[in-house]
């Protein structure tokens, strides 16, 4: 089996069961950032320069979505032949921010709705001879699972 490695270091935890995006939070004004801000707080009213790494909520609600029907150009590494896939913008309630992600394999854009609950999963983005490169994706939460979250 190929080694599974993140397609980018430090953007998400590698917990395969319950992965989280890893953001940062200003220790002064408590603003969240994703990807991580580590130098200067972007809140214009805050002079904070210290940040803590925080796992972001791993579930949220669809803000909008689309289906990529044409193959994106490099540096996207596309399977051959290209298979259309969905992308969702997802609102995280606690962080009050919207985060993009591909939608998990097997979910068609036609199954998505604005406001639909989704959760974070890790899936293969692409592979080479040695490794599978993982990325975060949004996956619709089935109603049964949703109840169990409550």
């Amino acid at each position: 089996m190929k080694k599974r490695v993140p397609a980018i270091e430090g953007w998400f935890s590698l917990d395969t069961e319950k992965p989280h995006l890893l953001g940062s939070r200003c220790t002064s004004c408590k603003s969240y950032f994703f990807p991580k801000e580590t130098l200067f707080c972007r809140n214009p009213g805050c002079a904070g320069r210290e940040f803590e790494e925080v796992p972001l909520s791993r579930s949220g609600k669809v803000w909008s979505f689309t289906n990529n029907c044409y193959q994106p150009p490099p540096p996207y590494v596309s399977p051959d032949p290209f298979v259309p896939y969905a992308i969702a913008a997802v609102e995280l309630e606690d962080e009050k921010m919207v985060v993009l992600g591909q939608v998990a394999a097997g979910t068609d854009a036609s199954e998505l709705k604005v406001g639909m609950p989704v959760e974070l999963v890790l899936e293969k983005l692409f592979e080479d001879e040695e490794c599978e490169y993982l990325v975060w994706k949004w996956k619709p939460v089935s109603q049964a699972e949703e109840r169990s979250h409550v």
């Binding site: 809140n43 289906n67 029907c69 044409y70 994106p72 992308i87 919207v98 993009l100 604005v114 990325v135």
Partner: protein
């Protein structure tokens, strides 16, 4: 002190796709603008270039590239980059020089040559660049973002794919007689809806192409224009605002919005604030506009812009479109030039081209696409990485 400057001359090179050096497009646009202004190149004291990032070093220093190509004259020079808003930024640089009394006459130019297909990030591995990463990790092209806005419009306001197609139909008719337009073909709603889906719900005929093209304007002080007994179209506002934190709309090329968890939302979202700043500067409101050129990167986005510039309330742009208000002959024609639907996008030239169109319209020189009695016009666009762009001109 008046904050107005005169538009002495405008010029464009037609939009198309030839793959030639961008200077070949820019020089004829400059020459046309100078001729239109009735001045010589050597009268220009300041050259303001909108940069292109797809044409190597000469593109980065476009102001100097054009100054050299026109023949070194000792004119002062600057080049600006603000993605699609570069044209507005370079016009604003020229305006500032004029209003500060540092020069009387400035030439502003933007020209581009674009590759075929999706605009892609600058080449090379650059994992610190969000524009590179969004392609790498998401495959999020520009149409991906346009589609997110379009889908949200459908879900929030009940817009339909037919509404979006009608925008393309309208603009394709507007641009039919425009000699600078790349696409001069009237499309029907059926043809638009039969074109291939690119980024659901947006189809190929609803997403602007990438084009080659160039536009130039000659700006001067009002005093310089008056000495020549001219009654020029005037620039009365240029907005180049950035967003206010937190910006909670997902923008190219970002992965996430700002967080609104600890700071309250600003009074107006970013896109609303772009035109609002121009209205404030001009001391007018949207009800005084006779026409608008808006950035229809997609058909659906034109509807968003109609609302962002205050032509109607959120959710009402479909009604405006379907009532014919935004068609030439209607209450407030939008994109009489044909817009990006007929031009495609030549990034650094786009905001300048919008002002060329407004100028022709206000002079009454727009031929078959003339908006009768146009006296006040607004153009609006936005460049990725937080660049607002709006210009108000009046007669």
């Amino acid at each position: 002190m008046s904050k107005e400057v005169a538009i002495l001359g405008v010029g464009m090179h037609p939009w198309g796709k030839w793959g030639r050096n961008f200077v070949e497009y820019g020089i004829p646009a400059c020459q046309d603008a100078l001729k239109d202004a009735g001045i010589e190149w050597t009268d220009v004291q300041f050259v303001s270039g909108a940069e292109t990032v797809r044409n190597g070093y000469p593109g980065f220093v476009s102001g100097a590239t054009f100054a050299q190509a026109l023949g070194w004259s000792g004119a002062r020079v600057a080049s600006s980059y603000a993605a699609c808003a570069s044209g507005a930024t370079s016009m604003n640089a020229a305006r500032a020089q004029i209003l500060a009394g540092l020069c009387d006459v400035a030439l502003v130019v933007g020209a581009d040559t674009t590759p075929k297909g999706f605009l892609a990030p600058t080449s090379g591995d650059r994992p610190d660049d969000p524009d590179w990463l969004r392609f790498r990790l998401l495959g999020a092209t520009n149409p991906t973002y346009f589609a997110l806005y379009a889908r949200r419009r459908m879900e929030l306001y009940g817009a339909t794919d037919k509404d979006f197609a009608k925008v393309k139909v309208k603009n394709s008719r507007h641009g039919l007689s425009n000699p600078n337009a790349r696409y001069r073909k009237a499309f029907s709603e059926e043809q638009v809806l039969a074109s291939p889906m690119v980024a659901d719900p947006l189809r190929l005929l609803e997403i602007c192409a990438t084009s080659d093209g160039a536009a130039a304007v000659v700006l001067s002080s009002m005093e310089f224009a008056r000495k020549r007994a001219l009654d020029p179209v005037r620039v009365v506002a240029i907005s180049t605002v950035t967003p206010k934190y937190p910006n909670t709309v997902i923008e190219m090329p970002n992965f996430a919005t700002d967080s609104a968890s600890s700071v309250p939302l600003p009074n107006a979202p970013f896109r609303d604030s772009i035109a609002a700043a121009a209205y404030e500067e001009a001391g007018i409101g949207p009800e005084e506009l006779d026409l608008a050129e808006v950035y229809d990167l997609s058909s659906a986005l034109e509807l968003d812009w109609c609302e962002h510039i205050g032509l109607c309330k959120p959710g009402e742009a479909e009604r405006l479109l379907n009532d014919g208000d935004t068609t030439i002959g209607g209450r407030i024609p939008v994109n009489p030039s044909g817009g990006l639907a007929c031009f495609g996008e030549a990034v650094p030239a786009q905001a300048i081209a919008q002002v060329c169109e407004l100028t022709w319209q206000l002079r009454g020189h727009a031929g078959e696409r003339q908006v009768e009695g146009a006296r006040v016009g607004l153009s609006v666009n936005q460049g990725l990485f937080g660049h607002g762009s709006a210009v108000i001109v009046r007669k």
